[in-house]
Amino acid sequence: MTAPGKGGIGPPLWLLLELTYRCPLHCVFCYNPTDFAATGPELPTAEWLRVLREARALGAVQLGLSGGEPLVREDLEPIVAQAHALGFYVNLITSGVGMTEERIRALKGAGLDHIQLSFQDSTREMNDFLSSTRTFELKARVAELIRRHDYPMVLNVVLHRLNIDHVGEILAMAESLGAQYVELANTQYYGWAWLNRAHLLPSRAQLTRAEAVTRAFRERVGPRMQIYFVVPDYFETRPKACMNGLGNVFLGVAPDGTALPCHAARMLPGLEFPNVRAHDLRSIWYDSAAFNHFRGEAWMKEPCRSCPERQRDFGGCRCQAYLLTGDAANADPVCELSPHHHLVTAAVAEADRAAAAGAHRTPLIFRDHRISIAVEPQRGAPAS
């Protein structure tokens, strides 16, 4: 059912606060905007606390705290405490850098429900290379802290061409850390990952092998370790129901207070995303043009408009449609019914060729403040 609200619009059940774009890592697949350095100052504590109160009153109940690296915010503990007191289920999404015994104890005391720890790879070398820092041992220590403080062990590993062949080692590492849930999340192509797509998109053969390894591992360990394997959209023939439709359940707030119906939506042209400094969340969620724009079906074009599956997948991902076709109202080209589907199959064919050929001409672009100042806001095709 759609809960009380306005005009059939349900409540924003999922709130994601990207507390900061600052991050000690420099991951090549980061989905943060490539021009993050050009965004305004971070919201101060009191504003985040107000956002939490307003969101909870609207019915938000699942809370993600991410970034950037949320641990760089020194006020993370009071933010968690306020969220907990309001009745949120509080998830911290972290690389683990900055986590100490002292902080995890304070966060637990403040009511943090869950920690999702991200790994780049199981081998320190690859991990350090891909994040451009020497952090692997630190992460293993953080995993130990997570276990000692009685949190479920939930690991997230982002996969791509450069590490997907290590999926067996990654799962073995996860098992040795006592992981209960492992998300093998293949990179999706937004932000920095879009810039680096030509390096990161795996070949079909790599993906097939990784899935087979994962299946065999899953059968061996049984239910004590839940493994989720998220395929890159580009290998699908139907699009994901991205965000369950923009403006339906998800509300994100960027570090500078910009309210977003998807954490990547900032790139969409022609939409003026309201800022929580200037507007209350209720009016942002129910009344703002930006949040209403992709609600319902009026915005859809063919083939979505007359598609029997439009209520299931909402035409897929608006950001992907924009990045690949230049028009956010087009069908997500991942869909084989899209007239632009060839853009996706061409990228996969290129990945197959590149994986076979080995090394790549253009360098990887690491997420970096200095580079972020220099790059243009994203549009058009990525460098190949």
Binding site: A3, P4, G5, P11, L13, L58, G59, V61, Q62, G64, G87, Y89, N91, D113, H114, Q116, Y151, P152, V154, Y181
Partner: protein, 92 residues
């Protein structure tokens, strides 16, 4: 049937949280990065799974609260499903 004993004491599983959401007018079960919205009967059963009451006591309590009889099979089946899904765990 796994043959759940009437003397078993189910409790909301570790890491999960059951709470009433006024905006959704429903109980929800919250877990890491996920949420299940429960229907009325599921909510009424889970609400009573406190690790103290036995399944038999929960059945009796629900029959009293809803002026009903013969709820045992339905409640047991739901508790078994919830155990299987990891929503509930049994306490000593």
């Amino acid at each position: 049937m796994s043959g759940l004993d009437g003397s078993a004491r189910p409790a909301i599983a570790h890491g999960m949280r059951l709470q009433w959401e006024p905006v959704q007018e429903a109980h929800v079960l919250l877990y890491p990065e996920g949420m299940v919205k429960l229907n009325g009967s599921a909510g009424a059963i889970l609400e009573r799974c406190d690790g103290v009451r036995t399944v038999a006591q929960i059945v009796a309590d629900l029959e009293r609260a809803f002026g009903s009889t013969n709820l045992s099979d339905d409640v047991t089946a739901f508790v078994e499903l919830a155990l299987e899904r990891g929503w509930l765990e049994l306490r000593e």
